[in-house]
Amino acid sequence: MTGTVYTETLIHSAPEAFVSEAPYQLIIVTLDNGERVTGRVSGDRVAIDDVVVLVEERNGVPFFRKHS
């Protein structure tokens, strides 16, 4: 499943349960079917309008990476 990055941020200051993962990138992706989802990024940082592909779901959270 692919989509484009609608918006993103790199989180430095994390909530208690995520402190060990910081910094990590949070994104909202507009999927190709038009639906928007909130997810995380695996690998390289992405920017608005980048094309991303869904790589996995962890604990119900979609993880995307930059489409090569």
Partner: protein, 380 residues
């Protein structure tokens, strides 16, 4: 509004949620020259007392020691708009003729928790099943709004920083502000990163504090005070909690609809608003708010702020109190505190921060990333 009362905002290890709320409530009652026994209903705005301090059933818990018993005591929760919402419901009840003398208090005691736990509690005001699970924080949600605003309208880091510099300058002359520190644009541009592009200078403060007002019907107001402040228009509206459910995250639709309704009720337009307290939980939120309130067109809030239009001596001062950024943001207290700060200006009691034109002011309180909004237009 026949009386107002606030505690200072800050870090108060010796004060608990009840002592803060009671102190502000007593001040407001004294200001209105009303005895606790005259209060016919009590509305409490509080976001997360149970999580922050481990106490529920907060409305009677606070009202009792103030000497208020035997009347409806109700807690209202709408994230950071909790006490704006409590004020709206108290106003509605008085306007409907249910009660004549009503006390509204907003309170939050936040500083007894460490920052990561505070972030976690605040994140519960977002969509926990998606945003929360992904590790979102409130700074992160507003950072995503900022990124999109920059992308769509060319808003720059300097514009965000200008809001922080201005609000810190105002806070520095507010004796009740949490942060009385002037900062430079350079400092604001180079703060510790929190969630890109937001730095620590873009974020409001974690504070303790409380604020209260006493409401009465207009026709009875002069029995209590010769300086009543009139609610000319007020509205509360809502939108989706999840940011990814909004078509355009550079717009707080709830703020637009609430301000449309409040302006209509007041019989005024955005041009008539001389000054305002807006919900600058993050610098970008002030920029989006002044656009959604119609002070400036969409996308122009950054340059408008950087040009000084919203400064204390500007054409339309915004957040003369220092805003959430410098005055502080005890979440549940904020909505009523904003209304108190607008009332202070209208009564001509704002001291060093008194604005020249102070006949008609506005308060805008936001919950979450825009799911709740309360807009209030006030006049003498």
């Amino acid at each position: 509004m026949i009386g107002i009362g606030k505690t200072p905002f800050g870090v108060f290890p010796d004060q608990d949620i009840r002592s803060l709320a009671v102190a502000s409530g007593r001040k407001a009652l004294a200001n209105a020259q009303v005895e606790p026994s005259q209060v016919e209903a009590f509305y409490l705005g509080n976001f997360a007392g149970p999580s922050f301090v481990g106490q529920s059933h907060l409305a009677p818990f606070i009202a009792g020691p103030m000497g208020i018993t035997g009347v409806p005591c109700t807690r209202v929760e709408a994230a950071c708009a909790s006490s704006g919402s409590a004020f709206f419901h108290a106003f509605s009840a008085v306007a409907a003729g249910l009660y004549d003398v009503v006390l509204v208090t907003g309170v939050e005691k936040m500083t007894s928790q460490q920052t990561p736990r505070v972030a976690e509690i605040l994140a519960m005001a977002g969509e926990c099943s998606t945003e929360g699970k992904a590790g979102a924080t409130f700074p992160a949600l507003f950072a995503m709004i900022a990124r999109r605003h920059m992308h769509q309208y060319g808003t720059r880091r300097e514009h965000l920083a200008a809001v922080a510099v201005k609000n810190h300058a105002n806070g520095a002359i507010n004796p009740d502000a949490h942060m009385k520190k002037v900062i430079s644009l350079e400092q604001a541009m180079n703060g510790k990163p929190i969630a890109d592009p937001l730095t620590v200078y873009d974020c409001s403060l974690v504070s303790d504090g409380a604020a209260s007002v006493v409401l009465a019907p207009l026709e009875r107001a002069h029995e209590f005070t010769d300086k009543p402040v009139r609610v000319l228009g007020i509205a509360q509206t809502s939108d989706f909690v999840a940011l990814d459910r909004k078509d355009d995250i550079t717009v707080f639709k709830a703020v637009q609809t609430a301000s449309d309704k409040a302006y209509k009720m007041a019989g005024v337009g955005p041009k008539d608003i001389q000054f305002a307290e807006v919900h600058d939980c993050f610098t970008i939120a002030e920029i989006v708010a002044i656009e959604d309130l119609g002070f400036i067109s969409k996308g122009q809030g950054g340059p408008y702020s950087a040009e000084g239009c919203t400064a204390l001596k500007g054409t339309r001062p915004v957040n003369t109190s220092g805003g959430l950024k410098a005055k502080g943001h005890p979440v549940g207290a904020t909505g009523v505190a904003q209304i108190c700060d607008v009332a202070l200006q209208i009564r001509g009691e704002a001291g060093e921060r008194q604005v020249a034109r102070h006949e008609i002011g506005l308060a805008q309180n936001l919950g979450g990333s825009g799911a709740s909004a309360v807009v209030t237009v006030l006049t003498a």
